[in-house]
Symmetry: C2
Subunit: 557 residues, 2 copies
Amino acid sequence: MTIAEYLIGVLKKNNVTDVFGIPGGVVLDLLYTFEKTEGITPHLSYHEQAAAFEACGYSQVNHTLGVTYATRGPGFTNLITSIADAYADSIPVLFITAHTDIAVGESVRFEKEQELNTVPMIRNITKYAEVIENIDDIFKIEKAVAIALGRRKGPVFLDFASHLWNREICISQFGSYEKETIQNDSLDLVIKRIRGGLKKANRPVLLVGDGVRQANAVDDLKKLCDILRIPVISSRCGEDVGKCCENYFGYIGSHGIRYANFVFAKADYVIVLGNRMAFPAKSKSFSVALRNKTITWIDVDEKEVERIIDNTEVFQLDVRKVISALLESDINTVQVDKWISDCNYIRDKIADFDKCWTVSYLVKILNMIPDDFVITVDVGNNEFWVAQAYVLSKAKNRILYSKSFGALGSSVAKAIGAYYASGKPVICFTGDQGLQLNVQELQFISQEKLPIYICVINNSASGMIRDKELQRYKNKVIHTTKEGGYSVPNLQKLAETYRLKYEIWGDCEEFLSYSPVLLELRVQDEIPLRPLLPIGRVCQNMSPDLPANIFAELDAI
Amino acid sequence: MTIAEYLIGVLKKNNVTDVFGIPGGVVLDLLYTFEKTEGITPHLSYHEQAAAFEACGYSQVNHTLGVTYATRGPGFTNLITSIADAYADSIPVLFITAHTDIAVGESVRFEKEQELNTVPMIRNITKYAEVIENIDDIFKIEKAVAIALGRRKGPVFLDFASHLWNREICISQFGSYEKETIQNDSLDLVIKRIRGGLKKANRPVLLVGDGVRQANAVDDLKKLCDILRIPVISSRCGEDVGKCCENYFGYIGSHGIRYANFVFAKADYVIVLGNRMAFPAKSKSFSVALRNKTITWIDVDEKEVERIIDNTEVFQLDVRKVISALLESDINTVQVDKWISDCNYIRDKIADFDKCWTVSYLVKILNMIPDDFVITVDVGNNEFWVAQAYVLSKAKNRILYSKSFGALGSSVAKAIGAYYASGKPVICFTGDQGLQLNVQELQFISQEKLPIYICVINNSASGMIRDKELQRYKNKVIHTTKEGGYSVPNLQKLAETYRLKYEIWGDCEEFLSYSPVLLELRVQDEIPLRPLLPIGRVCQNMSPDLPANIFAELDAI
């Protein structure tokens, strides 16, 4: 068995079926080994950045292992944006590159040309990053995969000496690594705390995040919600987790759903599951809301739990084990009829207040999408419109964001990866600027005739930055609108270039009749993003202002 | 004066007229300050990678300072490929990014989202990389620029706390930095060595590189060559330096000009100016050629000169000062008529041997280009075809490569930067894969109607990797040709999408009649790259083999 075959064996054992990359001299032996191996397919991308986003999208669908390979030098550096994206959003991807047998460690400037000292460049955006120079290093393969998939998931990186690919090895000499797990010492205590908290609370809330899905605990969470029947809110990234629950009231945040922020503000006890509680660190508005409540927070990450948050008791635990233990305990329906009806009243009163035309239209679109389709979303105003519409729609589909790192131009490539992971059609929502950033990847979709619906919300603007410009500089916009020097190519011609069907979104009924397709939704460029939370206000008091009497009424609940 | 104004003042003092970037929240104050400053223009790019290549191209034309700015997070990581390119090719570019007032230094995974600890990620591919957190750090601006432009040039990086942009400062409090220079202690000795070497030599050669242009010494070199009248050879990156000299015999290398490798092999004394002598480190074939000669090597880089090379005496000196000192000494024409006529004989005998159809066609094209146009070239087989044609043509234009790092997809963006640096039309040669990698940047050209001629040498293949595949795996090609799963969009439709004129190259006479234009040269995909130097052969014995009698005759010279 060669080292390349051994590596691929480890990947197959971890259910990897598709890998993404661009060939280059030092990875050819790996590519040829992929090609001849049954059950795993290498795919050609048109930019390494996109190859890496494809692996991220592949991984995100079910939080399984994704894999990208790239050649040395620019092949490697082109991966870095996606590595950071995977790190910030806890996506388990193995990034593979290679070098010739020139020793790494020195500077590129002295006769090295494409050779870089790779590991220090990505050490702080990976869970594990190592060079594999000789056979003694091969144990790092299993170790890297175990680390990627263990505890809080994330990217790992291996840089192989290229002469190793075809080297014969004896498989028995490498130990296997168990995924990192965490102690359950405090499991009994946390169950006691949650039971006690629920007993005392009048307005309990469950705040969930993407960590619930990463822990493969969505079905159990659903069961728990069916028993507890308390309101559920989420992070934006966790909205598809929240949607699986009864009594879901949307995602909180400074661009959150207005009534979700109300529900959070009014709660007196919050159980936080698989959500890293970034919001109080990011916004003083949320700190105010912490004062009137107690919080029991479960997180898997040893660093996140070191943070001290007001009125919050934190436990480093596997969220799945916590939910299982709760289900096994004799936990009962909590009597919160008044609180639920208050939450419903708040929602019904203001759900339409922030619903701009774009969001209303997207709700119609989302209501038509079959449950098994995957949705990917780009970065910018489009992601907030889609996120809002998703909450307001009937959709419960898996929805992938570049949430924490905010990598513009990631959605098309993530759609490609999502297709290979799910085998199902993918709806890709993107803005016009994000589309342009990795537009080359339409060639992949075109060539392979993938069932992908690219929905471009085209406001001919870099809308989110334009909004910031208008806030800060009033009348002058630079580089974010047509007048400011930003522009968009003709999307119909673009679709023709890449042999995609093209439609202006109009009659929604036709929406899903063929693929691949590029659908253009032309929206007025001046639609601002709403709602948002101005600095210095409490989290439920978002802008634009509610009518004073309505705010006063709801805030008095 | 604000800190943004101060920074821009430093840039203007260093003759920066154009900067490239994409706006984002943390750099908006800088962008708005650029916009209101006379004499410097910010330009909008469509991918930060391209913005950075634009700054590289701007810088490379005259080796002056280039500038890119990008927002935090993915804005920053998207720069990294170009930073490495600038480092490897000694391009002085200031890369600017910014962060909010959250302290850098910790990991991104804990509530930081887009904030990265940037400096460690690019420390080993920059000459200087610093965070600017407060007013005490402002001295780093002048220092960074001085370092970028001093000695062996290269990229520098500054990451500003965004709250500083509009902070008022007193300009007098910052010292100014002189460019780094080097000691001239050994100047007399090197003149003595060169005079002695030339006196003894029967077959002296001048080997030049891009370092001569970086030292702003091309005119002096020309004068020196007019006096010495000895053969000149170059690195590939230095071919436009060599072209300024009488008796230029092309560039050496493992893909070098065959007769240049002959001239190098047969020389008995070599003066190396502004060339880092990477070839003997990269290829044993060149080590053989070192045995029969002595070498006097002048290089500016303190690390390069630490390398020990057979029969080579090295001096760390400014090449311009060496050439000036030689011109001021009473150096005379060297009597090498027989040697020159031998070199000419070798050239005339084999110049056409490697000239494939593509190269012949490119010679015709290059012969038509006015002297003041700039040429940019991408990476792959196309760069070697253009490089060969350039040597064989009458062209003496400035020609920009991504030579050392080999960043595919850099040429279109470099063309944009080159236009702003020169104010002259630019010819951009690219392959079909490189074009796709940063195809979004055609929108910049289209919008600004730049006088750029994009010449796509379309063999519908990733030709250089395909050649490696065929060498190594015989009959099967993967991901590099149409049959292997690589494809190219219809370039006529692509041109229409970006409102570029489109022509199939044919009648060369029409070549320069309008711009911007996309010209497609369709070449057969099976044209292999030639000549090349197989492992284990002496440098003049390239593949494909010369007829045995001709090789024997020339090798006996």
